[in-house]
Symmetry: C2
Subunit: 312 residues, 2 copies
């Protein structure tokens, strides 16, 4: 199969298990930017984020024997919920390794989707060890939140749907954390867009992808000090080459710009989006002279926020 | 023209000036209630509320001579913004009487839509006097926020659109404040629904409509002590008989029930709605045994909230 056919097969495979999310527009934001923006609202996706797409595809691609032994991942965020719900929908057991300091609300969301939680120390090493132990003990298959080609293909379907609805988009924007969303978005734009380029948006505070594209090798973050909690992770070896090949460039933005863009989306569009979802709009606003009169697509990554802890 | 034809003409008239808002559903809320709920999202309407519909229709029904002399209303809430924007869209001047203690954010919204503000003392008498003075001095036409038949017809178009999208709805719900939305909704259900009944939802704290339906005459509120700030007003002489004829009954809910329903909509549907918009869902949840397996429509009235002052 060609890569285009692989992506089409992926879309057909996961469609029964996901929502086709709406594409919203805002006259007020269009006027502010001087361009036509189309927001693909994955905050309305099942469990509240695009992660449902990649998790569903990755689990569906397992062999029957693998499915029987279940899946495992480590995440304190949206991917924990996505794997739990996707596995539940497919009748498969899911084990989720979470740091012991993960908020109760996030643990309860996983439990609500029937994921089995293993708590560990809040370090990357402890997480990976705990996950590997479950793989060794139970033969469960580990699914990485972003550095997995089937997760990337699943994520690509958000942009594929957006390009079906708005085929004339000139530029697609997505935030960059682990790189799984931007890689999928870039593949979708390459194979299904009409000369549609892709720009990544990243917080200055965790600009590993920006620096990696410049240096040509995967760079590490020095801190995880951003409000965009979904973007604190680093690039992987599978998504980085896709980003090198298919992403035009990366724009970085400050924390203040992220919060202002998030507030604009809440107030003007009346939708609840995570800070990570505001990073792309922040990048557009900060460079709006470049994008005058263009048709721009934005992947709104998710809407799972703590309403008791808003930045405005 | 029959009343049905009047409503169809109204819909054709205002369509170019308003958004056709989406109808959203939530698997989680359907599961919780045990019914199928269809939310007509007027929080996505222009200026953020259904009021845009009634204001636009009322202004378009004026004679050319009246249009030249402009319009005036008194409101500190959504109707102030609705009249300002509707008038601006139609090239007509709008004067808005607001109490001097109206928050700056609400005054700025009116100014943003080019409405001219006259501040007055924060009493109903001062508001009415200030509006009447503008009528006398300038010959402007006064438009009431809810007790005006053209406003009611305009408001009806939200439910008309909902019934076009979901023709099999069994019950339509709307909140009751001044009565303009529920009256329009009831007319729409009567003339365009298939045996679709209408239930009003009202805060216990301002249950004038509930008591009015029981006594057969317009009752006054003893307090305005509800978080649902859009529902603090009382019924009018034009909408009350429509409510008597076409609304099945009214359910009242507590402040706690309103806040819990609002939080549910924010967390599960990822949309920003005003407290007033949560009153109907609160009424359904409090009486869910009655509505098992039914197809229910809810008019989400608006999404203009102060993000710095949330009840959760």
């Amino acid at each position: 199969m060609s890569k285009k056919e692989i992506l089409e097969a992926c879309q057909n495979r996961i469609t029964p298990y996901i929502h086709r999310t709406p594409v919203l527009t805002s006259t007020a934001i269009n006027d502010l930017v001087g361009a036509s923006l189309f927001f693909k609202c994955e905050n309305f996706q099942r469990m509240g984020a695009f992660k449902m797409r990649g998790a569903t595809n990755a689990i569906m691609q397992l062999s029957d024997a693998q499915k029987q032994r279940g899946v495992v991942t480590h995440s304190s965020g949206n991917f924990a919920q996505a794997v739990s719900l996707a596995a539940k929908n497919l009748g498969i057991s899911a084990e989720i390794v979470m740091p012991s300091n993960a908020p109760a609300v996030k643990q309860n969301a996983v439990i609500g989707y029937e994921g089995k939680i293993t708590l560990c120390e809040p370090t990357l090493e402890a997480r990976e060890n705990a996950a590997q132990k479950i793989v060794a003990d139970k033969g469960a298959t580990f699914i990485h939140p972003s550095n997995d080609i089937d997760v990337i293909y699943g994520n690509a379907t958000a942009a594929m749907e957006l390009l079906e609805d708005q085929s004339e988009l000139e530029i697609l924007f997505a935030p960059i954390g682990g790189g799984g969303l931007i890689a999928g978005t870039a593949l979708a734009a390459h194979f299904f867009g009409k000369n549609c380029s892709v720009i990544g948006a990243e917080p200055e505070e965790v600009n590993d992808a920006y620096r990696s594209l410049q240096s040509g090798k995967i760079e590490q973050n020095k801190s995880a000090n951003t409000i965009a909690d979904g973007l604190r992770t680093t690039l992987g070896t599978i998504n980085f080459p896709i980003i090198q090949n298919y992403v035009d460039h990366i724009i970085t933005v400050t924390e203040e710009q992220i919060i202002a863009a998030m507030k604009l989306i809440w107030e003007r569009m009346k939708i609840i989006v995570e800070p990570s979802s505001a990073v792309a709009l922040a990048a557009i606003i900060a460079n709006k002279a470049t994008f005058q009169n263009k048709k721009l697509g934005i992947i709104i990554s998710g809407g799972n926020v703590d309403l008791k802890n808003l930045p405005f």
